[in-house]
C-alpha cells in the first residue's frame, strides 16, 4: 500500500513559515534607541532610579530651550547592576550613552580605561567653584577632573538620647557606653553594616582614615598596610567581639540596620542620613528620642574621618554630542537641581552653598554635622582596580569577629596587591 507522505513536510514548512513570519513582524519595528528626533539632539542620561528625577530633567530641558533634550534611561537600583550595564556598553563603544550617573568609586576605573571624557577649562572651573573638597576628590584621576560631583553622602552616628546623655567621641567610648547599658539591662546594641559587601569596606576605610593610615599608596599602585591600618583592624575586631553588636551584624546591610534601629533594637546606629527621613515617617515616636553626632573617631584628640559616598556625573567618551552633554550635566548637578533632589529624593548636595538655603533646614536638621564631616572626609582607595580591591577586602574582613590584626594585615597586603595587579582569582 503506497501512502503518500506529504504531511510531515507540509507541517514542517507551515511551522517554519509561521516562525519566520513571527520573526519578521517582530523585527520590523526597529526604532533606534533614543536617536535624534526632528533635529533636536537627544542626550541619554543613564542613571540609577531617583525619585522625582524627571522633574529635574524637565527643568533642565526647559532651560536648554531646544538646543538639546535629555532623556532619562533608568538603570537598576543596585550599584553593581548599574555598573554592569554601563561597562558592557562602553566596552562595545556604544554611542547611545551621553551622560553617566556614576558611583564615586568608579571614576578611577572608567577614566583609566578611557571610557569617560575629561572636564577641562571653564567647565572644570565651574564645577570646582563651591563644591566641597571631599566630593571633588572623588571625581579626579591623575590630577584631572573626570566626573562632576552630584550628590554626596557621609555616615553619621545616630543615638537614643533617652539612653545616652552625651554622644561618644571615639569607638572605645561608644563600646564602653554600650556595655554599660547592657549591664543595666537596657537597649544597648551598636548597629551598623558588617555583611561581606561594599559597606564593610566603607567601614574599614573610615577606621583606617581616622587612624591616619593608608591602604594603598598615593599613586594607587602599591598595597600599603601601615600602622594606621593595623590599628583600624584592631578597632574593628574589638568592636565585633565586645558583645555590643547585633547577632546579624555580619550579615547586615544598610536597610537591615535602619529597620532594626527604627524598631527600637539599638542604642547607637552608624548609617547614612537617609535614615532620618524614614524614621520620621515610619516611627515618629521613636524619632523624637533620636539625636545625631559626628562619626566616632579612634583618638580622643583627632576628629574622625569618614568615607565619602554619593554619585557623580560623567560624559561618555563615545557620546555623539560631548559639548552639549557637558552643558546638560552642569545643569543636572547645578545648585538648583541639587537643592530640589536634596529635599525631594534624600540626596545630600555636594555644593556647599546649597546647605545654607533656608529650605534645607527642615529636611536636613543635621546639616551642620554633615558639613563638618564633608570638609574632612576620605575617599576610598583610589585605584582603577577598586572593584577587585573591594571584593578581596570584604572577603578577608568577613566575619569581622574573625580578624587577627597582624595576620589579617599581612594577608590583606598580599591580596590587595594581587587585586591591583589584576593577578590571581577574586573570591
Amino acid at each position: 500500500m503506497a501512502i503518500t507522505d506529504r504531511h510531515p513536510q507540509r507541517r514542517t514548512l507551515r511551522a517554519r513559515a509561521l516562525a519566520a513570519g513571527a520573526a519578521i513582524t517582530l523585527l520590523a519595528p526597529l526604532a533606534a534607541c533614543g536617536s535624534d528626533e526632528g533635529g533636536v539632539p537627544v542626550l541619554n542620561l543613564y542613571q540609577f532610579p531617583v525619585e522625582n528625577m524627571q522633574n529635574v530633567i524637565d527643568t533642565c530641558n526647559q532651560e536648554a530651550a531646544g538646543r538639546y533634550k535629555i532623556v532619562y534611561q533608568v538603570l537598576p537600583r543596585q550599584a553593581d547592576d548599574q555598573r554592569v550595564q554601563m561597562v558592557r556598553r562602553l566596552a562595545a563603544k556604544d554611542d547611545s550613552m551621553d551622560i553617566l550617573g556614576m558611583d564615586v568609586t568608579w571614576t578611577q576605573e572608567f577614566a583609566s580605561a578611557s571610557w569617560i571624557k575629561e572636564w577641562t577649562g571653564d567647565d572644570r572651573a565651574e564645577i570646582e567653584k563651591g563644591t566641597l573638597p571631599g566630593p571633588m576628590a572623588s571625581g579626579e584621576y591623575n590630577g584631572k577632573l573626570y566626573a562632576a560631583p552630584n550628590n554626596t553622602n557621609v555616615q553619621l552616628l545616630w543615638y537614643r538620647k533617652d539612653l545616652v546623655p552625651t554622644p561618644p567621641k571615639t569607638w572605645a567610648e561608644m563600646i564602653q557606653m554600650s556595655q554599660q547599658l547592657k549591664a543595666e539591662g537596657k537597649t544597648y546594641q551598636v548597629l551598623t553594616m558588617g555583611a561581606q559587601y561594599e559597606g564593610l569596606v566603607v567601614l574599614f576605610n573610615s577606621l583606617v582614615a581616622s587612624s591616619g593610615g593608608h591602604v594603598v599608596s598615593d599613586d594607587g599602585k602599591t598595597a600599603v598596610m601601615d600602622q594606621g591600618s593595623v590599628e583600624a583592624l584592631n578597632t574593628l575586631k574589638t568592636f565585633a567581639t565586645a558583645g555590643v553588636t547585633s547577632p546579624s551584624f555580619s550579615n547586615a546591610i544598610e536597610d537591615d540596620v535602619r529597620l532594626a534601629f527604627q524598631t527600637g533594637g539599638g542604642a547607637f546606629q552608624l548609617n547614612w542620613p537617609y535614615v532620618y527621613a524614614s524614621m520620621q515617617g515610619d516611627a515618629p515616636d521613636l524619632a523624637k528620642n533620636v539625636a545625631w553626632a559626628r562619626y566616632p573617631g579612634i583618638d580622643a584628640g583627632t576628629p574622625s574621618v569618614t568615607t565619602i559616598g554619593g554619585s557623580n556625573l560623567a560624559v561618555s567618551a563615545y557620546s555623539k554630542h560631548p559639548d552639549l552633554a557637558f552643558e546638560a550635566a552642569k545643569c543636572l548637578r547645578g545648585p538648583e537641581s541639587q537643592k530640589y533632589l536634596a529635599i525631594n529624593a534624600g540626596q545630600p548636595p555636594s555644593i556647599e552653598s546649597v546647605y545654607d538655603d533656608p529650605e534645607m533646614a527642615k529636611a536636613y536638621p543635621m546639616k551642620d554635622t554633615l558639613l563638618e564631616e564633608l570638609k574632612n572626609a576620605a575617599p576610598r582607595p583610589r585605584t582603577p582596580a577598586y572593584q577587585n580591591l573591594s571584593t578581596v577586602v570584604a572577603a578577608e574582613l568577613s566575619p569581622p569577629a574573625g580578624i587577627d590584626p597582624s595576620r589579617t594585615a599581612e594577608s590583606l597586603k598580599k591580596s590587595i596587591q594581587a587585586a591591583i595587579d589584576s593577578k590571581g582569582v577574586l573570591p
Binding site: 501512502i3 507522505d5 510531515p8 537600583r77 543596585q78 544598610e254 537617609y274 527621613a277 524614614s278 529624593a345
Partner: protein
Amino acid sequence: MAVATTSDKVKWGLLDAVVVVFALIPVLWIASLSFKTPATLTDGNFIPREWTFENYKLIFQTDQFVRALINSIGIALISTLIAVVLGTMAAYAISRLDFPGKQLLVGVSLLIAMFPQVSLVSPLFNIERNTGLFDTWAGLILPYITFALPLAIYTLSAFFKQIPWDLEKAAKMDGATQGEAFRKVIAPLAAPGVFTTAILVFIFCWNDFLFAISLTSTERSRTVPVALSFFTGASQFEDPTGAISAAAVVITIPIILFVLFFQKRIVAGLTSGAVKG
C-alpha cells in the same frame, strides 16, 4: 473499578493539605509583606498588623509596570509556542526516526544547556547590537527559544519514546496517512509531555532576569523581572520591599492561570487499552 471510599478521600485530602501548606506558606509571607506598611515591615508578624493597598496602587501608578507585563506576556507566550513546536518536531525525529547526526544534535543541545549563561551575555549583546535586534521582542525571543529547546527536546523525547510503535503502525494499517497518524494517535498521547514542556518553558521565559536586563534598554521590550529591579525606594538605600512584594504577587498570577489551564491536560491512562490484544 474500585469505588473511592470516604476514608480514601480523607487520606488524599490530608496529603493535599500538607502539600499546599508547604508550598504556599512562604508565598503567603511574600503576600503579607506586600500588604504591610513600611513601619511594620519588619515586625516579624506573619499576618500584618496594619494593612495597606498602597504598594499595589504604587506599582500601577505609571504605565511602566503594565508595559512590562505586556512585554513579558507576549514574549513568553511566543517563545513557548515556538520552542514547543520546534522541540516537538525535533523530539519526534530523534526518538522515532533514524538518521545520522542524531546523537550529535542531542549532545549539542545538552552542551548549550550546560554552558554558564553569564559568559554568553556579552557576546550576545554585541551580536544583537550589530544586527539591530537589541531592545526588541525578537531579541529576547531568540535566546529564550535557544535555551529552552534542550529541555524541550529531552522532555518530549522521553515521551515520544514511551509511545508504543504498534499504535502508529496500527493506525496506518487502518488507512491513515503519516500526518493523520501523528495528529490523531501520537499527538494526544504525547500531550502530557507537550503541556509539561510548555509550562516549564513559560516559567523559564517569564522569570528570566539575566538576558532580559542585558538585551533590553527601554520599555519597548523590558520584561517584568527587570522592571522589578527599577523600583525606587524613598532614597538610594531604602529597598522598596513592599512594592517589590506586591509586584511579585501580581506577576505570579499569569503563571497560576497558565498552569491551571494546562495541568488539566496532563492526565493518565491515555495509553491504557490503546494497543489491542
